[in-house]
Amino acid sequence: MRRMMEKITTLEKAAKLVESGNSIAIGGFTVYRKPMAFVRELLRTDVRDLNVLGWTSGIDVDMLAGAGRLRRVELSYVGLDFLGLAPSYRRAVESGELQVIEYTELTSAMRFKVGAMGMNFFPAKSLFGSDLLRHNPDVREIKCPFTGEVFHAVPAARPDVTVLHAPMADVYGNVVYLPSSNRNIEWDIPMAECAKKVVVTVEKIVEYDYMLSNPLLTKIPRFKVDAVVEVPYGAHPTDHDSYYKVDKDHLRAYAEASRKPETFKQYLDEYVYGVKDHWEYMNKVGGIKRMVELRPAEE
């Protein structure tokens, strides 16, 4: 008898789902709940010329830009949140090597929502008069067929691969987000729904029975998911809601290293290329002791 298909795999195999030239969407928000273990694994492959379709990006895009893996980004924000500008991204844009297609926060997010609807575009009311219209070649003027009002059509996003980090999943790819997950998970979900392939890293693999008992918590069903990887602390050094806070010390050290190509390269050599896998990385950034320190205050 055939069994249900398991989607569980390793980071190494999951990273191979991304090919050079692909468009990828990365879940989370600036320095919160970013699938960083996957991003580091991606850097260990020779993938390049990526186009990031984003909303509010942070250290994920900064790292990929600094490592020269990006051709283009389409998003509304890249920064290190409370630590300010993203230095490697800045350098890549200022040198003219990285193309930015500017969107606003609302339009960049709605691109995923209309992608998830199977629609072609989102009718924007917020772009009139802005320089985004002058520099974004993908936005077109349209007329409302009912009233004749003019809007701007923003193309739907259909990423080749969407990568997310979530609390839990089963081996079949049913993905759980918790009620305590930050409200920005609202955009992880359409990001998955509009994608051609979906990879999800999770803190913990749980039994299929967990889903049957808590079906309200399943936010992405297994038929949308291609690969699931169990990666505890897989968002480090970014935050993961009830699991761990943002590692400010590490992030500050990263931001400092990112300011110069030489120190950024040293950072990558130490924390990405110089470690065999996520477990070696974990030991390098302080192991269990550090992770315990990063636990958020209990309510």
């Binding site: 509010t56 920064g79 409370f82 930015v100 305590s180």
Partner: protein, 273 residues
Amino acid sequence: MKKYAKDYTIEELMATVVSREMRSARNGFIGTGTGGRTYTLAVGIPLAGMSLARMTSNPDLSILFSYKVNPVIEEMPSPDSLTSPYELMNWRCEANLAYDAIFLMAMRGEIDTGFGSAAQIDRFGNANIVAIGDYRKPKVRLIGPIFQTEHFALFGREILLMDHERRNFVERVDFVSGVGYLEGGDSRRRAGLKRGGPDKIITNLAVLDFDEKTRGVRVLSLHPGVEASEVQKNTGFELVIPRGVPETEPPSVDEVELLRTKVDPRRIMLGTS
């Protein structure tokens, strides 16, 4: 009669100006993700000012702090924990809205007032947080437009909080990410924006608004002890300075007391200056 305070910080004065601006507003929106001085300007001062308004003139005001509606200000987590989404989620409030609910509210035109800051603002209230210098090869690439474009296009009005310096107040912004009055006159309307736009700019020196006809930045009031010439000296374009500009109404003794004891006793929002 109202008794005015003699001893107050510039941030307390700015928060009081915000509070008075919100006397009859339905709601006011503040974003989250910034650090340092921008946090004080774009988050701290408007949050303190709106909280003061809720305690005094306008108990029906809804503070929209990102997805949180009317968080209990006395229970504000430390600034350190504001970088913890979990602790932010657990901060008691009337509602933790779905993230897209805020976007839909904006699209329906139901957000009254937005608060923000900018790297550059120009003579006609256009704002820039995208790039400094030539866009194709910028001197400084900034964070990107985020929600600013929506603040300026979809909200009822935008109130900006700025440090008053020549490098921030420029003749023409290098990139229009927040659409003000474009080239002045009715050019904003002609570009397709029928409502909203920048309404006030609250700085450490003055409160600014816009001339009804030319739409140029105008001095509405000067903070106590500040001369018009000092404001002009710190502005990179020619301001509209009407004759007999009044003094900004200082905070009352009661307002300062509320800010210090109830709104922000730990000096999280208003800094320590």
